[in-house]
Symmetry: C2
Subunit: 580 residues, 2 copies
Amino acid sequence: MYQFLRVNMDTRECRFEPVPREYEGLGGRGLTSAIVANEVDAGCNPIGPHNKLVFAPGLLGATNSPNTNRLSVGCKSPLTGGIKEANAGGQPGGHLARLGILAIIVEKLPKDGEWWDLEVKKDSARLVKSSVSGLNNFDAVDKLRGSYGDKCSYITIGRAGEFKLTAASIACTDRELRPTRHAGRGGVGAVMGSKGLKAIIVDPAGGDTAPIQDVKAFREASKRFAKALAENPVTSQALPNYGTDVLVNIINEAGGLPTHNFEYGRFPEHEKVSGERMNELTTKRGGEGVVAHGCMSGCVIRCSGLYPGKNGKLISKWPEYETVWCFGPHSEIDDLDFIAKCDYLCDDYGVDTIDVGVAIGTAMAGGGIPWGDKDAVLEAMHGISKGTPLGRIIGCGAATTGRVFGVRRVAAVKGQSLPAYDPRAVKGQGVTYATTPMGADHTAGYAVTANILHCGGYVDPLKKEGQIELSRNLQIATASIDSVGLCLFTAFALLDVPDALPAVVDMLNAKFGWQLTGDDVSGLGKRILTMEIDFNRRAGIPASADRLPEFFEEEPLPPHDTVFDFTTEELQKTLDFADK
Amino acid sequence: MYQFLRVNMDTRECRFEPVPREYEGLGGRGLTSAIVANEVDAGCNPIGPHNKLVFAPGLLGATNSPNTNRLSVGCKSPLTGGIKEANAGGQPGGHLARLGILAIIVEKLPKDGEWWDLEVKKDSARLVKSSVSGLNNFDAVDKLRGSYGDKCSYITIGRAGEFKLTAASIACTDRELRPTRHAGRGGVGAVMGSKGLKAIIVDPAGGDTAPIQDVKAFREASKRFAKALAENPVTSQALPNYGTDVLVNIINEAGGLPTHNFEYGRFPEHEKVSGERMNELTTKRGGEGVVAHGCMSGCVIRCSGLYPGKNGKLISKWPEYETVWCFGPHSEIDDLDFIAKCDYLCDDYGVDTIDVGVAIGTAMAGGGIPWGDKDAVLEAMHGISKGTPLGRIIGCGAATTGRVFGVRRVAAVKGQSLPAYDPRAVKGQGVTYATTPMGADHTAGYAVTANILHCGGYVDPLKKEGQIELSRNLQIATASIDSVGLCLFTAFALLDVPDALPAVVDMLNAKFGWQLTGDDVSGLGKRILTMEIDFNRRAGIPASADRLPEFFEEEPLPPHDTVFDFTTEELQKTLDFADK
């Protein structure tokens, strides 16, 4: 039924394999992390022959239940040196699941300078000489559509991935066949580039929805889950109407919007870059149709609006809150049109908006780019595609940029940049940044929920109390959510609507004939995190790396004048499950 | 008698302190490493307020015995993230010893953008606003000489240090008051730059030779040591006549001269860049007077010749073998005049010739600079001083350059680049690169002696047998030599002339009234290495980091087609003294 597709870039063999027993019950992040942990030498060079790149849809992929078609991408990260899972929306996750492919495992290296495209169809796969190497994502997808048509979905890297820049992403096409959904973080695109793999064409023809053991029970549970998403105000109103950028005003009000490279917690011009403003501006230009687009089949949240420019022509999708933040307040820029342009360039050149945006502000702090200078930012951004020295520097992310420009205050953990929530004012988020095996990653345990949004309870964001437990529980839950293929935004409903989590458990049981309980789901999360941490230890990342840059511990953040005041010992308890 | 000088860059207090009892018996590297290990939070940001920069002359500094005036510089390295000691010749080491200063400890940070010069005199010291910030080393020293005269010696950083580039060095003036002697490795110049300390002026007036308990015994022992140096053919003939560049033909013949970024072990044009050729070329241009210059008072080896250009005007000192190698064969360049020019630029801008030269060839491997393109290299080099993106990249060394240019084959260990001996053809050297706490460093345990030069015995360079023990013994001996203030080149005599080591022990005993034996000297070396390794563990560098990049383990090196074939377990035994 389910198969692995193993692709050897050296011999160019593409082999379908039965799924080994040990991987049963795993999908998405759980599966990519298990395969990487089992098969990859933790000490290997991330862009060398011994790393592997794994693509895996989630456990509920291709089931027609809401928001379950995310695609996980796993490998050893060239950015952090540790294990990495980054997941993306768009169509390929669902398509692979429809083909019964539980994981694609890409191994070895081709000869230097060779570029290949992988064609994946029902029960067949092959590597062909790439027809799109040298192109960025939008041109590459346009050309591939000409050859393979509009029923396929496409996974590609841009020039950044070809250059093996450590903030390079992997793009998945959305429902409009635009390469706008990215497995963004950790330089997964550099690993794909190192393997000489430019594109994966996923042809879903002949595939089908996933087999389900108890169809009736599944359908009922799925309806309950959809109802929960419709009931929750974040998933049903805030996100579709304003996108994730709805957070600008909220986080600014909370004093946690990192401004001028994490020197201040509020941005005076915040309203100019807010979700409310983006909604107003884009509907004025493009009408009601710009609002409420889903990025993948089955999405009922539809947070991804369209961003037309003054002339009505599309600039980009609605940039996410984190993108708006790093190209905006972090870099002293208050121009949404400009930020949308940067978002487009990140999608096109194939880089993580967060690490590159944070790199921009870091370069500004180091004198490499003048503060707020949009022309200079654009030139640097275009440099990513041209391969200029400055483009390559920012394309390697904030940590490398900070090093090259001699910056002392670099907001990164384990080499990965912090996102848009200052850990001194949203302390639960800081615990997650410090302790997740992924390097600083807001999605790994999104404490903004309880810290700011009063979702799933309330933990005072400025105090230490309760933050370790909050982050721990969220990290465990997230590892499971990332394995199911669920969009993380369903978490708002999962945390607040009592029937949402039971509905997901019931869907899993109905699909696989399991008898899971809520505790088992938590156990799965712990198992995944334990595997990931073990890989990191073997890769040479010690427990002492679980901390924030020292300036967060020492410089009070206005307006609340708080510091991040957790000891290393406290932080190291976060993911210590031995006595839990 | 002896004092510490503690300099606080925040309060600008300069305080002389008695030497705490725990530091008795330590000097040079032993002292810098002990102070860093005791006083610096191993987890701190190397360019932040919690790192300290320590300068310490050796135990035999200012004694008038031969070749004992080196100056050790220690800190947490911004290049490796671990402990660092880099030492330099020139005059400041002897001058500080004459002033009775056992160590200068520079702490804290000034306000952003402030630059200070430290004036050190007999029993007084103060910080004054820098008169030379913004200048490179040669201009800075010229200007300082104008203010302070020619009897002082000067410790400065160039623009690279001001920019906090991780391959920035610290320059010490030589006997001709040229800033040509560098504490080169590990980015110590970036730490000095982070502290806003542009220059140290050492005025030896009022100082004296070091006090000696038994003057007669010391004088006798010193004569025996001088005799040993005069007997040994390397120290008495090869080095003065050809400089360290005498090694080009020797290492090429051995098949261990890394060529074209470590793809080959021989360079067809090796004779064009050999020490023999350098001697011939420079004596033709400048007469016999170019040969046999010592870099510091008391030097009897005098390996540092002068390099005049075609017009007779000085281009640089004789570049060292490692400098010739990395700007030469490693980068497909066979032009000695050009290499000498690069050597001068490194001295002037203040960067480690090795890490920057290796970065050049690494950038070539990544397409950032065309192979062998001298104009492009010069432009990149000038970029270090101008602060261009490319200049900053190479100024951060080979590891950063490899990352930015997406290079898979990057020759670095713990972030520090490998020097000029391919570890597949000089395997003892490879063991040292992998295991020294300093990051890849040939001087930390120079196995070329027994592997190639038949000095101190012979261990076949292409075989595994005996290399671990060889590297261990050399690393222990070197840690001691670096503590005594001895030039490492005395090691050729120490290894080959039976009376040389006893003479050094007798000098120490005569000076301090000790009763050391040769075993105690070895114990000192082990104690230093143990402190350094412990610091690295606390800094988050695990034992598993003691390995070479995987391509050395997998790609056979022509002409011998050998690989570096030590297991991690074998390597980790090198500096495990528990059962020894």
